[in-house]
């Protein structure tokens, strides 16, 4: 089947469109799970942890004195000046979709356009405790609607592979961040100490829509270790890091073979290596080496993958040799040391 060649710029836009939609959805999930916990003790700490998660403390404190629920929520929901807010993610998604209008289906565009207009109309009354959960659920569902419309209407040519790549790379990244919200609970005394916070792990699973799937795998005890292992390694759960990396690798392989693209061999290798790591490590090894450090490593690795995609397909110069903050390098850096 012949198909007109895909502009490099479009490939980049569709990749980022998918990422921003996925990012908005996951931000809504993270805020929702935090909202569920922030009522009890430690509320202030829990909102602070969201800021730390996205490395946003500095920008936040330039505008605000303290991390209250209300301020952090506004910062992440409707602050157009905050590049990591849901509003910014949806705005960026729509700007990309605007460029891509010749390529995406009308239904994809219309849904996103309406979603964007709704995001811009959110007022303080929508963010009070009684309404917040409904708002966040609405945002999550709008993102899922977009994904569903894309599944049902987006023409399956080269562009759709970049859509898949963006979606899975972002989702993998976001799952690491979701898990990172609760990593402090896994340091120190291990499962025994974390058991008191078991409700939080429940909610974490639920926010990733993973509770029932988890139960099918582990019908007995729900432990933090098992939850972390499930979110990282499960080969069938749609939001596990492993599954996302596998899907991304498959999409890239198919794109390259079907359209006879020469570039991107290094990315295929990188994704395969990452997959091997995720297949071969046990959760106990990871916890022993430090969960947060491992999550950081994964995030850094995905950043490098994105840089390589930019160089291979989006017409950018290869990223400079400076390494991402996490220290991930290419080819693969050794994993954080695991004490025996």
């Amino acid at each position: 089947m012949s198909s007109s060649p895909l502009l490099a710029r479009y490939a980049e836009c569709i990749f980022w469109l998918a990422r921003f939609i996925e990012r908005a959805e996951n931000l809504a999930r993270i805020l929702d799970v935090n909202e569920t916990f922030s009522r009890g003790r430690g509320a202030a700490q829990s909102w602070l942890s969201i800021l730390q998660l996205n490395a946003d403390e500095e920008r936040f404190y330039q505008k605000h004195q303290s991390a209250t629920a209300e301020r952090v929520l506004r910062f992440y929901l409707t602050d157009a000046d905050n590049p990591t807010s849901i509003l910014s993610a949806v705005t960026n998604a729509r700007e990309n979709a605007r460029t891509l209008r010749p390529l995406v289906s009308t239904e994809m565009w219309v849904q996103l356009n309406v979603f964007y207009n709704r995001m811009r109309a959110i007022g303080p009354a929508d963010m009070v405790p009684g309404s917040l959960s409904r708002l966040l659920t609405g945002i999550k569902e709008a993102c899922q609607t977009f994904t569903g419309i894309a599944e049902g209407t987006f023409y399956r040519d080269q562009a759709s592979y970049f859509y898949q790549l963006g979606r899975y790379i972002e989702r993998a990244d976001q799952t690491t961040r979701l898990l990172d919200t609760k990593y402090p609970l896994l340091t120190g005394g291990g499962d025994a100490a974390a058991a008191v916070e078991i409700g939080q792990w429940h909610a974490l699973l639920r926010s990733a829509s993973g509770y029932h799937a988890f139960r099918r795998v582990h019908s007995s005890e729900l432990t933090p270790t098992r939850v972390a292992g499930f979110l990282l390694f499960n080969p069938a759960f749609p939001r596990s890091v492993y599954l996302c990396v596998r899907e991304a690798a498959d999409a890239l392989a198919e794109l390259k073979s079907r359209y006879r693209l020469r570039g991107g061999n290094d990315i295929s290798e990188g994704l395969d290596q990452l997959r091997t790591i995720l297949e071969s490590r046990s959760i106990d090894e990871i916890l022993a080496g430090g969960l947060h450090e491992f999550l950081d490593f994964l995030q850094g690795y995905l950043i490098v993958i994105t840089d390589r995609l930019s160089a291979a397909f989006f017409g950018h110069k290869p990223a400079s040799q400076s390494q991402p903050a996490s220290g991930a390098v290419w080819p693969l850096a050794p994993l954080p040391q695991i004490p025996s």
Partner: protein
């Protein structure tokens, strides 16, 4: 979207002070055309026998129902993003082109005249351009003053001797047509560079079909859907010689351009990539686009960027929109551009005045669509007439577009008239003047009910090996009472334009 042409008319004056209030009372209980009064103007609806069926349907439709459905249609335009974007304080504001759901109807015989008139006119303009860029016979024969052409900033000497496929320089044209109180159609302006607005013609029809199927059903409308495929066919016809399966692209300035929606629309209708300057690169006088698999050759470019910005090597060096080297590829015959370079000299406001003579010169025919009477102020007699009748005339600078620098005599203050006089005396060659035309009106839904509002018409024509005119065109309507200008940035809207298949 800022449409370029500026159409002038006398304002509609309210006859009775209480007319708005009466209309508001009607809107709760009455029907769409109840009490509609076009006053002294030529009404496109009431003066056309072919609208009888439509009038009957409107007369049975409650106005409250009509308003509700119009509002839903406009919301849909907004949701669909059929918008033009304004930037206020760096934040984008999406505006729809207001949509008036009472259609403007053109009878079959009227359309026949418009269609043949446009084809005649474009044929003559293309012959003019071919002549100007080759032998310049028309200048030698003294039909058009040579200095008017040779000193024109839109005349491109570099086009001399360049072969253009089918001698079709103007491939896409959007001719502005107005109708006066005498019911005659006249050409106001030839938009032969990069005319916009055709997307609204097609989207307005889609909107009508969705929101008012009961008005459209069985009305016998000429379809507007095949514009995209006609455009692609013409682009294939103008491809460089020997190129059998040309790669066509549409070149846009990008998402910040007010007409970006239209560029998207056309690229989609044509099924071709929508590119920006940065997507294209010229190597060894050949144009390529940057794809995920590397460079891919491009053969035909429908460009929505003016000559000046196309190639920083050849024209404005500060242009970031263009493609360095594009003109080298063009002059080498390796890529076709639509429209061709240098068409701006044919739609110049001063050259416009000569178009009836140009038609006679090349085709030995009378113009089927007359011009608006035009006084070319570079000619002493016309200048004298203009200065003597300043308060009755519209004075336009020849080089400007978008309604800039226009003085409307009947509306101008004494000080404005004096300022205009001074400019005319200082630089007469820069101006033309025209009588103020009573533009025709069409019934239009306004806040106070259905009112007469001035309309114009911009049909779109495509020329490859031959010329085809999209039935209908963009009907723009001046929504503000008394408004002189149908321009979208000045509160103008649009209507669906119906060309009827039968009388």
């Amino acid at each position: 979207m800022a449409l370029r042409a500026c159409t002038l008319a006398r304002p509609v004056h309210r006859r009775r002070d209480n007319c708005v209030r009466e209309a508001q009372d009607r809107q709760m209980t009455g029907f769409v055309l109840d009490g509609y009064d076009p006053q002294e103007f030529y009404c496109e609806m009431l003066r056309c026998a072919a609208t009888a069926g439509l009038r009957e349907r409107l007369a049975r439709m409650p106005i409250a129902d009509f308003q509700r459905r119009t509002a839903a249609a406009e919301q849909a335009l907004y949701d669909y993003g059929i918008t033009f974007t304004l930037y206020a304080e760096n934040s984008p504001i999406d505006r729809i082109l207001p949509f008036d759901a009472i259609p403007r109807v053109i009878a079959a015989a009227e359309w026949q005249q418009i269609e043949t008139g446009i084809i005649q006119r474009i044929t003559a303009l293309n012959l003019l351009l071919d002549d100007l860029y080759h032998g310049q016979k028309i200048l030698k024969d003294g039909i058009v003053p040579a200095d008017l052409i040779l000193g024109n900033p839109n005349y491109r000497p570099r086009m001399h001797g360049v072969a253009v496929a089918h001698k079709a320089y103007v491939n896409i044209c959007g001719t502005d047509i107005i109708r006066g109180g005498d019911g005659l159609f006249r050409v106001l302006e030839d938009n032969a560079r990069t005319p916009s607005g055709v997307s609204y013609v097609i989207e307005n029809r889609h909107m009508m079909l969705r929101a008012f199927p009961d008005l459209v059903d069985g009305a016998g409308l000429r379809p507007v859907e095949d514009y995209g495929s006609r455009l692609v066919a013409a682009m294939r016809e103008i491809a460089p010689a020997g190129c059998h399966d040309p790669q066509i692209v549409l070149l846009s300035p990008g998402i910040y351009n007010a007409a970006y929606f239209e560029h998207v629309f056309l690229a989609r209708e044509m099924g071709v990539p929508l590119v920006e300057g940065s997507d294209l690169v010229v190597e060894q006088d050949r144009v390529y686009m940057r794809t995920i698999g590397g460079l891919h050759p491009v053969d035909v470019i429908y460009r929505r960027i003016n000559d000046d910005f196309l190639d920083p090597e050849a024209f404005r060096p500060d242009s970031l929109l263009g493609v360095p080297g594009l003109m080298r590829a063009y002059y080498s015959g390796n890529v076709a551009l639509a429209n061709a370079i240098g068409t701006g000299v044919a739609d110049d406001k001063a050259v416009y005045a000569y178009v009836p003579k140009i038609i006679r010169y090349y085709l030995d025919e009378d113009a089927i669509l007359p011009n608006v009477e035009t006084y070319i102020c570079r000619e002493a007699e016309s200048l004298r007439y203009t200065l003597d009748h300043l308060a009755e005339l519209v004075v336009k600078p020849v080089g400007e577009a978008g309604g800039y620098g226009i003085t409307i005599g009947p509306q101008a203050s004494q000080a404005e008239l004096e300022a205009c006089r001074a400019k005319l005396v200082a630089d007469p060659a820069n101006y033309i003047s025209q009588p103020c035309i009573d533009l025709s009106v069409a019934p239009t839904l306004c806040d106070g009910g259905v009112m007469p509002r001035h309309v114009d018409l911009r049909p779109f024509a495509i020329t490859g090996a031959s010329t085809w005119v999209l039935p209908g065109g963009l009907t723009r309507v001046a929504l503000r009472p008394g408004s002189l200008i149908v321009n979208s940035s000045q509160g103008g809207g649009s209507k669906d334009t119906w060309v009827l298949e039968h009388e």
